[in-house]
Symmetry: C2
C-alpha cells in the first residue's frame, strides 16, 4: 500500500493530542434559565435608581446571581422566578431551555451568548413594570470556558469545536458533538450545558466530563 509518510505523522500527532486532552477533567456547570439586563430594561422592570443585590457568586469570575427575578410570558404560558445574572450588559438576553420554550410556546434559536440579532422577542414581567423585548430570548449553545493557561495546557484554540464524552459507562452516557471552545482570561474551566442537556446525560453541577 502506497502511503504518504506525512499523513501517518499527522495522524499520530492528532491522536497524541487527543489522548493528552482526554486526560483532563472538565467540570460541568449547568445553566438554569436566567437573564442579563441592559440598564434601560432594568430601570423599566425594577425602577430607576435601584441596583441589583448579590445573591451568590457563579463560577465565571466577575459574574454573580442576583436576588432579583422576573417572569417571562409567551402565547402558551408563563414561567416565574427567572433569576438575574449581573452585572448589566449592553443588551438584554434571556437564556432558557427548549423545555421552557415549549411551556411558553415560543421557538428561540440556539445561539452563542451575545449573538442576539434576529433572536426571539418575549414579554418580561418585573415588580415595577412589564416590557416587550423584540429580541434577546435564546437557547444557549453549549460551550467550554477556558482560561488561556488551561487552553494552552490542553492545546485548545479559541473558537475550536470539540466532542465531549459525558456519563461514562452509565445508562445515559453520551457524546456531545459541536462543543464550542471559548478562551479568555476572564474565564475559568467549565463546560456549560442547559438543563435539558444535563438531564439527558444525567449530569449534575461539578461532575466531570472529557474532550474525546
Amino acid at each position: 500500500m502506497d502511503q504518504d509518510p506525512k499523513l501517518a505523522e499527522k495522524i499520530t500527532e492528532e491522536i497524541a493530542k487527543r489522548l493528552e486532552r482526554s486526560k483532563s477533567d472538565i467540570p460541568v456547570g449547568i445553566s438554569n434559565r436566567h437573564f442579563h439586563l441592559a440598564q434601560e430594561d432594568w430601570d423599566a422592570l425594577f425602577g430607576k435608581g435601584t441596583e441589583p443585590r448579590k445573591f451568590r457568586a457563579v463560577k465565571q469570575p466577575g459574574f454573580w446571581a442576583a436576588h432579583e427575578v422576573v417572569a417571562i410570558e409567551g402565547p402558551k404560558g408563563r414561567i416565574d422566578n427567572i433569576r438575574l445574572v449581573a452585572p448589566h450588559r449592553a443588551k438584554t438576553q434571556i437564556e432558557i431551555s427548549k423545555t421552557d420554550a415549549q411551556i411558553i410556546g415560543l421557538k428561540p434559536p440556539i445561539r452563542d451568548s451575545g449573538d442576539l440579532a434576529g433572536s426571539t422577542g418575549v414579554r418580561i414581567i418585573g415588580p415595577k413594570g412589564t416590557i416587550e423585548v423584540k429580541e434577546g430570548l435564546i437557547i444557549a449553545r453549549r460551550h467550554i470556558h477556558f482560561h488561556p493557561l488551561e487552553a494552552k495546557a490542553m492545546n485548545i484554540k479559541d473558537g475550536e469545536v470539540v466532542r465531549v464524552r459525558a456519563g461514562i459507562n452509565g445508562q445515559r452516557e453520551l457524546v456531545f458533538e459541536q462543543v464550542l471552545c471559548r478562551v479568555s482570561d476572564k474565564f475559568s474551566l467549565e463546560l456549560h450545558v442547559d438543563t435539558d442537556e444535563a438531564n439527558a446525560a444525567w449530569l449534575k453541577n461539578g461532575d466531570n466530563v472529557n474532550i474525546v
Copy 2:
C-alpha cells in the same frame, strides 16, 4: 508487525456490519410523561366498572393514548395532566423525565419498562380517588423497538446495546451511547427517548437517527 489474520477479518466484518446498519433511518418517538395502570389502581382512581376511552393510537401496535389523565405529587410539587396509555398492565408504571422529577422533588431510577422492583413511590391523584403507589415511578431507559424483520435486515439481536447518532451537523448533534435494542413481533421500528433527551438533541417526533 505480526498480526492475526483472523483479527483483520473480524474487524472488516464488524465495520461492514456497522456501515450497513448506519444506512437505515430510524424514526424517533418522543415519550412525554405518561402512565400505565393495573386494573385495581384504575378502579381506585377512575371508579370500578368504568373503562378508558381511546384518545389516539401510538406507533407501537396495540397501544393507545386514553382521554384519561391524572396528577402526580411529590415533596416539592405536582404535575397535572399526565396521560394514561392503555391497555392496562399487571403493574402500575409512571414514566417521567428527570426535569419532571426535579419539579416534584423525587429521584426515580432509570429503568427498562416493566422493571419496577425498588423503583420510586409516588402519590397519584385521579378524578375518583388518590392512591400512593410504593413503586412504579421511573425514568425510561432509551431504547429502540424493532420488528424481527427490521432487526434481521439491520443485523440486530434482542438485548444488543448500540450507539445512535442524532442531529447530524446541527449545533445539538450528539451520540447516544448505551441504547438498548428490543426485538418483538409486537414492535415497530422506533427510537424511544424522553423529552430531556429529545430537547438536548433538538429532535422532534418522526425525525430520523442512525445507529453508528
